[in-house]
């Protein structure tokens, strides 16, 4: 398990005084179907993008709250990574995108029948969003509406 005490001094000082946003109340949807019948989508905060897409802006104050759509048949090795945070070691993710964007694993689970169907698109957000106001008000609800339109029942979220 990682801990905040593993972070660099700069990051520790920032995190020590940071006030996290809490969900209150905690929304809690029951799955409509067992996993083997459900449509499943993947959401990462690894900042991955298709080579044809404009990368996230790593310099934006408060963080870049936009997201990118990644088609389910994408070769994950071709994805760019815009997340250049110094808060963690990126070597593993750069060696194997599945570490934070496990699209290959989910395709295998779909093929084996463990997962009903994989949604047509996965979504990629950026990490390092310290000012999440627009994320909460705009881009997260937009992302939820897109996945709802795709008929998604279950979403797996992976932070980096």
């Amino acid at each position: 398990m990682a801990s905040l005490s593993d972070l660099s001094l700069k990051n520790r000082i920032f995190m020590a005084t940071y006030r996290y946003r809490a969900l209150d109340p905690v929304p809690f949807a029951r799955p409509r179907f067992p996993l083997r019948e459900a449509r499943v989508a993947l959401v990462t905060t690894g900042g991955v993008h298709l080579p044809s897409q404009i990368p996230f802006d790593d310099e934006m104050k408060g963080g870049d709250v936009s997201f990118r759509e990644i088609p389910k048949d994408t070769d994950v090795a071709t994805l760019g990574i815009a997340h250049k945070s110094d808060a963690f070691d990126q070597a593993g993710f750069r060696a194997d995108r599945n570490l934070g964007f496990p699209l290959d694993r989910l395709r295998e689970m779909e093929a084996s029948g463990a997962v009903g169907r994989l949604a047509p698109r996965a979504l990629s957000f950026m990490g390092s969003i310290s000012a999440p106001g627009r994320l909460v008000k705009e881009t997260a609800p937009e992302a939820a509406a897109l996945l709802e339109a795709d008929g998604v029942d279950v979403v797996l979220l992976v932070p980096l």
């Binding site: 398990m1 809490a22 809690f28 963080g63 808060a87 957000f125 932070p159």
Partner: protein, 84 residues
């Protein structure tokens, strides 16, 4: 910050009736944000699914994260992944 973002996006999805599950390397942040469902993994930041090039371990973590969907709730649901 990634962990807060995951919790807030999960909140937006759950409010639309979409069930979510997630992985966390920073339990202390996930507890503060009150992420609806999260599997705590014993790995460093940047390594949510354990090890690069280890599909068997990655799949075990994913199965454990999806298993949280069977917990009746109410949320937040937070469980530890055991690599043993």
């Amino acid at each position: 910050m990634c962990h807060q973002t995951v919790g807030l996006i999960a909140g937006a999805l759950e409010r639309c009736g979409i069930a979510t599950t997630s992985v966390t390397m920073l339990k202390e942040v996930t507890v503060k944000v009150r992420t609806p469902r999260a599997l705590a993994v014993p790995y460093a930041l940047g390594y949510p699914l354990g090890k690069p090039g280890d599909p068997a371990l990655q799949t075990r973590i994913l199965r454990a994260a999806f298993a949280l969907l069977d917990v009746p709730g109410p949320g937040p649901v937070l469980a530890d992944f055991s690599a043993a």
